[in-house]
């Protein structure tokens, strides 16, 4: 190695001399670390091989194509029954994880922003009440919230026979929330098409309004016009096509409701608990983000004549978002990871399906856990990628 650059008059032995050279030392340290790590990995690998051989298991993903032989009661997206494969069970689980995570993210964001803004209110009573709720909620384990809400739903809501009945179409019971399912009939495609067209039109309108503002300075209430246009066009098409939509109402059959859309109590409990628990952290992030924009910004905006809501839209929110989005993204990730606690109440997410029942039935601990972990790692990578992109895009230009 030609890394030794010390003076020739160094009389220490060669090893000491090598060690005294920063660069050489760094290379040695890295080689040794690498050797140790590979050594340990090899050892672990050997252990796994020996241990598996001893109990007659082999490492393979073949089981994924075998029938799972268990039922999943909640599979809103893809067909599944006990003759389906483990792979399909995993897919159902992943989709269920995504479902509860995305619903949770939406609700948590809404609640979090509302509470974060309320925490900044000058209204003492509102401020303190929200504060007490936030402090209590976030200092209690999320698992407890999940179990508690699940308990409430299961024990406090009536059995299907005495369901809380709203207009004979919506039923709240301890078996879940049931409501009519829309069933499209002939001609529904007209409504759908009109809806799609109106969305395209509205997007074009938004562009056009921006251009008009750039050219003439005129502003339109773009949001209201767009919403109105979509609703009106769709409604007219719906009426004109002869209301091609019927509702399949849930009805009590035996001990439970059949038909319609059913939202399971496990989903409701997990969704609500994850949402309000996470929203407490989001509220704190939102509050800090808004506070991070100095009051001088508001004053400067007022001083040039901007009204409070324009100030919010053009000055406060764009600046606050830069502070809010990165920790917000990591809260989204936390919520997704916390949804793995589904297994405690029997919601069939990826941990409960492939990492739970499939694991028990096949004894493939390693393979199933690898699938589960990989799923979450992919979610994490996606969110991390988004965060990097956002930070790069939004970084304030400084000297």
């Amino acid at each position: 190695m030609a890394v030794v650059t010390g003076t020739g008059s160094d009389t220490r032995n060669p090893i000491a001399r090598l060690w005294g050279n920063k660069k050489a030392r760094s290379v040695i340290v890295q080689i040794v670390t690498m050797a140790v790590v590979f050594g340990v990995l090899a050892l672990l690998y050997r252990n796994v091989v020996v241990n598996l051989a001893a109990i007659g298991k082999e490492f393979s993903f073949d089981f994924l194509n075998a029938p799972s032989a268990y039922d999943i009661t909640f599979s809103p997206f893809i067909e599944y029954n006990s003759r389906s494969t483990h792979l399909r069970a995993a897919a159902v689980g992943i989709l269920n994880t995504l479902l509860v995570a995305s619903c949770g993210i939406v609700l948590a964001t809404v609640m979090g922003f509302i509470m974060g803004v309320l925490r900044l209110s000058k209204n003492w009573l509102v401020n303190r009440t929200v504060y007490c709720f936030l402090e209590f909620t976030r200092n209690v384990p999320v698992l407890l919230h999940i179990l508690f809400i699940h308990g409430l739903v299961v024990t406090q809501l009536p059995v299907p026979k005495q369901a809380m009945n709203f207009a004979d179409s919506f039923f709240l019971t301890n078996r879940g929330f049931f409501f009519p399912a829309p069933v499209p009939e002939a001609g529904f495609w007209i409504v759908a098409t009109v809806f799609a067209i109106s969305v395209v039109f509205v997007i074009a309108f938004g562009r056009w309004a921006k251009k008009v503002q750039d050219e003439t300075g005129r502003t339109y209430p773009v949001f209201w016009i767009s919403t109105g246009a979509i609703v009106a066009a769709t409604a007219v098409a719906f009426l004109a096509a002869g209301m091609p939509l019927s509702w399949e109402a849930p009805a009590l059959k035996g001990f439970n409701f059949k038909g319609g859309v059913a939202i399971k109590p496990e989903f409701i409990a997990l969704w609500l608990a994850l949402s309000y628990y996470t929203s407490c952290f989001i509220a704190e992030i939102v509050r800090a983000g808004i506070l991070a924009v100095s009051y001088g910004q508001t004053e400067a905006a007022y001083a040039v004549g901007l009204r409070p809501n324009r100030t919010l839209q053009l000055i406060i929110i764009p600046q606050a978002l830069r502070v809010i989005v990165p920790p917000l993204a990591s809260q989204y990730l936390n919520l997704t990871k916390n949804s793995s606690l589904a297994i405690a109440i029997g919601y069939m997410d990826v941990v409960a399906t492939i990492g739970g029942i499939s694991l028990m039935q096949t004894g493939k601990e390693m393979e199933t856990m690898m699938i589960v972990m990989l799923t979450y790692l992919v979610f994490s990578l996606i969110i991390a990628g988004f965060m990097n992109w956002y930070n790069k895009k939004m970084a304030l230009v400084e000297r």
Binding site: S26, V29, Q30, T33, M34, V37, L44, N47, V48, V50, N51, L52, A54, S121, K122, N123, W124, L125, V126, T129, E135, F136, N139, V140, P141, V142, L143, L144, L147, F148, G151, T155, K337, N338, S340, L341, I343, A344, V351, G355, L359, E365, M366, M369, V372, M373, Y376, L377, F379, S380, L381, A384
Partner: protein, 375 residues
């Protein structure tokens, strides 16, 4: 308002009290509750909400509660209206279970002694003005091992099986172990991640990002179901120890990120100054860089600990009985069916008190940092 019209000599205008509507109860109400129509609506909504929630809750929890009974039936019979109050008798009768789990009765003095020693170990960590703090800190560092010996036994003490640990004892064991060991490991990981050497850096990044990318429950599953595959054949490893390792590694990854943030906040000049003094890497970090970085990171570290402490409840999913697990198991007791609210509220209060105090302490430190550090 007589003062308003009165003319004062220039430069001698006295301090006058503000108009009556600006201060006192009236001013406070005006500014804090009724400053705009929207605020009036908000105030009324909250008042209505509190009025419908607080009094019934108070009645249920305190006024109508029953503290002595042997069955739920008896409990509810003692109330004016059944189910109208909390049946704390249930919790009271099982408080030992909630605290010690199934730790053998005659040996519970060892648990109590550990609790006392724990308090003694925490005090010097929290208060930096304690006389002789240096020695107390050495004791605090040794505490996990002393407590481990006391609780598990051996070396002259009757051994106790770890699957008899439970309740608050279990929470504290996992929490304290996780907290004490994850900090040093986390610091090492953070230093590794900032190292100029490629190999350690990549290893640390992979480890940290892997752990932060998966839920704790999957790591606990690994601990419970397959960790033995990785060990030399025939090794038997206590489940509690496996869980402790996982929890520690899990929280170390998060600590590493917090500490990395602290290290990044240290100005370059500090590293250069250390270099120019001729300090080696370890000397520079131990004496100059780390103390500063850790100081900045304390609030984040405490937050990670709070998260870890709350996450100890997850062990119930792999069958260990922390307070929540004990509570869930108790709910199945046929003579006490239907008292879920009492159990959840009790456990929630336990965690709230612990975590809220930790977060208050972190806030106090943060304030101290902001004021005591005017550079």
């Amino acid at each position: 308002m007589a003062e308003a019209t009165q003319a004062y000599e220039v430069g001698r205008h006295p301090e006058l009290p503000p108009p009556r509507s600006e201060v006192g109860v009236l001013g406070w109400l005006k500014h804090n509750l009724f400053s705009s129509p929207f605020n009036v609506v908000l105030t009324l909504l909250v008042v209505w909400f509190l009025w419908t929630v607080i009094p019934p809750l108070f009645e249920w929890m305190v006024l109508n509660s029953v503290w002595t009974a042997d069955t739920r039936k008896e409990c509810w019979a003692r109330m004016a209206v059944p189910e109208d109050g909390a049946c704390w008798a249930f919790i009271k009768g099982r408080i030992q279970l909630f605290i010690y789990g199934f730790y053998p009765h005659p040996l519970r003095w060892r648990v109590n002694l550990s609790f006392v020693l724990l308090v003694l170990a925490i005090v010097p960590v929290l208060y930096d003005k304690l006389p002789g703090r240096k020695y107390a800190l050495w004791y605090a560092a040794a505490f996990p091992f002393i407590a481990g010996w006391l609780l598990v036994g051996g070396f002259g003490l009757t051994p106790v099986d770890t699957d008899q640990f439970g309740g608050i004892l279990l929470t504290l064991i996992i929490g304290v172990t996780g907290i004490s060991f994850s900090l040093p490991i986390g610091i090492l990981l953070a230093l590794g991640r900032r190292s100029t050497m490629l190999v350690p850096r990549v290893l640390c990044v992979l480890f940290i990002e892997f752990i932060r990318g998966v839920p704790l429950i999957t790591l606990l599953f690994v601990a419970a179901t397959m960790l033995n595959y990785f060990l030399p054949p025939g090794t038997v490893f206590d489940l509690l120890v496996r869980v402790l390792i996982m929890v520690t590694l899990f929280s170390a990854a998060y600590i590493a990120e917090v500490v990395r943030g602290g290290l990044q906040a240290i100005p370059r000049g500090q590293f250069e100054a250390a270099d120019s003094l001729g300090l080696t890497y370890f000397q520079a970090h131990l004496t100059i860089v780390l103390p500063q970085a850790l100081k900045i990171s304390i609030p984040g570290i405490v937050n990670t600990f709070i998260g870890l402490y709350k996450d100890t409840t997850l062990v119930l999913i792999i069958g260990m009985l922390d307070p929540l697990g004990i509570g869930r198991a108790s709910l199945a007791d046929p003579v006490w069916l239907g008292l879920a609210r009492e159990v959840y509220i009790f456990v929630a209060l336990f965690f709230f008190i612990c975590c809220f105090s930790m977060s208050r302490y972190s806030l106090y430190l943060e304030r101290k940092l902001h004021t005591g550090h005017n550079y």
